[in-house]
Symmetry: C3
Subunit: 332 residues, 3 copies
């Protein structure tokens, strides 16, 4: 089994044969009860972060590996802190994909770590399917959390976003949500759309230039807009996406300036949405490109709350998946 | 607030409105009682390092971030060990300033980590004022320790130096101290001068070539010497500085050889000072440049004791600042 | 004392004056009782890895430094996990030898860390003798484990290999073992040969091309073969070596293809050995070069068991050496 020949195929490796959640690979295919359980558990972890001693013994004696094939200090730090606050031992492994050969060697790397009896993997990889490949390979023997795979999925980001909406904007079943920017290449957007759908969001819009938000995206059940003003009308929640400047080279983007002129979130344009519409951003922000500093630092932005929620959501996911694994152990 | 427009200005962000020490940014502006408290607390931590179990639960459940914008395995290791021996969770973040944009993004980075409820930052940065900027931004919400900012300050190094002098050479009020080398560019020298002044050192001398020890330095209350023999006469303590070889390019230094010929510490020259004068060096040493190996390894050098003292001083600083923060928490 | 002038010389710095094992530098010169004690202790750690809480308090409050002058995520991870599961604090220090000056500065680095009262060093270095140099310098004051020094020795790898043979192939006194590949440059092979001899292995063979397995190797008490079929006849255990592709440049190897054609382990060639002969490999594997994937993933390969055993062996070594150090402390 190698990444170069990997196909997502049928089936849902997130769940085991008994229907228990074993891995978090994607919000697509996640069932509502488990999603709600993650969000509810995360609520309880929010308060721990306020305590003077911010630790629980939940994962004491367990080993969690942060296996990062892409650089991401921010995401790695959140997962590292989440695991440490649960008292796990954490092993950070940064692999440059230039030095690693692909496919077979990904499985070899994982097998080696499994031989050291690690309990879980948080994996970020530039290629779609890497986390799925590992989860299928490992089955019940360790938990796998997808921390971003290519342009495919970034489920913990999407979960923290719906957690933030639910907490700060009210019931998702009553909210209109717009995702603005380079939806085409965004694993965040894709995971957000699935998470919002599953939680019953009545209207999900995607807004951006035609090159980055093609009409075909409506197959995902979203409403496509190429005009920011039309797209923001009546919206309760605005999810900005980080513009990957590398996309410029693909000629899908005329220029950062032009993008900002047409789709950048400014205080004036926020007024096209509902009064006090929430503004989310997964970070790190390109201030002055997809978001103006006045908006980023303004009262409608909840970007730092997202970070706090992200820590709680990751602690919840680790706890629930490790608990399920513990259950399996008792039966073994 | 951004680093590019940052000015030190008035006020002393190390102390809060109630006059409690909240941050350690500089020995300048540190008051004698707090400085003595740090030194006295460090004494008690020296003995912990001798125990078989070298840990105290002081910072259990707290998270300390080592945020390093400059490479320094040595300083990072000491702070990491200090925090771990106090049972804190430690997050090491190395940021290359080439990849980081300046100013605004420094604050964004810190805000993100604060959203994860970290308790303190140890920051090293190539630009003067970085730690001050963060401390002003954070106020009472987390502790900030300056682990070196540009050519400005390196307060824990200066504190471990005065700790070493007090412990091994006797009362600072009775000692003549000379700082030798590139004082102009040295954050260590600047912080040493302030620390020694505050503790009542009766005579502080700086010795080096005119390009690296200009007459204007006497404004700091020090005696300037351009001749090593004259400068060392009657001195009880000699603080060598690391010569930054990069300075060679600025044409302020003729050559390493010439520097060594005129200002290098050799066994013969040590005799110009008091018998058994202490020799300190902040490390890493350029053997054969600012210090001869015979001196570095000789009985007057206390360079390794400085390292041991540095660990104790950093444990003391972390403990006192975290304790002050804990006090604030109770009132909140 | 500097690495450039270092000579192994006489004496055995692994043992102290009282004959206690203080360091693990090489399997050469290790006595059988201590080797058996390590292997027996490792047995008890195998079961800990199966527990839900995989930690013991053995090294609580101790600090172990991973001092790596060569990149090795895999070896560093195993030692890091071993120390963490024993509840030690771990400091990872990666030094690029390009940036480090040699010799004197290695001792300076170690002295600095010793001043922070660390308890042990796991050192990997591209030059033979680095770990010995440090052990001689430190004497009883801290434990030193050689995690690979140049082409000289890699004792924990050899110990996990004999552990694996003993556990999965039966008594070493009754087994014929062949080491296949670039024996000349391999620190693994050298350490395996010594470990097998000490444990009474009746016949050790080395197999490879004349350029990589010169006749002179028979001075080590091994039987030299340049023909794979002849060498494998009657063999119970086959230890494949990783082919260092860098050797190609030294013109000692015609090509990877040719090496594979003559010495690569394939399912067909395994039949030349005893039925069900064990196949070991230290990893990471070059699939299709020294070992075919069918063999690597086949039922005779015990490569992942080796990894699991390696963790147990390293926990055992850390425990025994730290325990010996503890004994010394009581007498001090």
């Amino acid at each position: 089994m190698s990444l170069s020949t990997f196909r997502f195929g049928d089936g849902n490796p997130q769940y085991d044969a008994q229907g228990r959640l074993r891995h978090l690979l994607n919000t697509e295919g996640l069932r509502e009860p488990e999603m709600l359980q993650i969000l509810d558990t995360a609520e309880s972890f929010l308060s721990i972060a306020q305590r003077s001693v911010k630790k629980t013994p939940t994962l004491r004696g367990k080993t969690i590996v942060n296996l990062f094939f892409e650089n991401s200090t921010r995401t790695r730090s959140t997962f590292e802190l989440a695991a440490k606050r649960l008292s796990a031992d954490v092993l950070n492994i940064a692999v440059s994909t230039s030095s690693a050969s692909k496919g077979e060697s990904l499985i070899d790397t994982v097998d080696n770590l499994m031989a050291m009896q690690v309990d879980g993997f948080v994996i970020r990889h530039p290629e779609a399917g890497a986390a799925h490949l590992i989860a299928r390979h490992l089955g019940d023997s360790a938990l796998v959390i997808n921390a971003g795979d290519g342009q495919h999925a970034h489920p913990t980001q999407a979960l923290l976003d719906v957690f933030t909406i639910r907490r700060l904007a009210g019931p998702i079943e009553d909210r209109v949500v717009a995702i603005v920017g380079d939806v085409l290449h965004s694993r965040v957007a894709r995971s957000q759309i699935h998470a919002l759908s599953i939680l019953g969001c009545p209207e999900i819009r995607v807004i951006g230039p035609q090159t980055l938000v093609p009409k075909e995206l409506s197959a995902l059940g979203v409403h496509v807009y190429h005009d920011l003003q039309a797209g923001l009308r009546g919206v309760d929640v605005i999810c900005a996406l980080r513009l990957q400047k590398e996309r410029m080279e693909s000629h899908r983007l005329p220029s950062l300036d032009e993008f900002h002129r047409r789709f950048g979130l400014t205080p004036e344009r926020l007024q096209w949405a509902q009064p006090d519409a929430l503004v989310l951003h997964p970070g790190p922000m390109n201030r002055g490109v997809e978001i103006a500093s006045e908006v980023a630092d303004g009262h409608q932005a909840v970007i730092l709350q997202q970070v706090a929620h992200g820590l709680a959501v990751r602690m919840a996911v680790l706890t629930l998946l490790a608990g399920a694994a513990g259950g399996g152990e008792n039966h073994a």
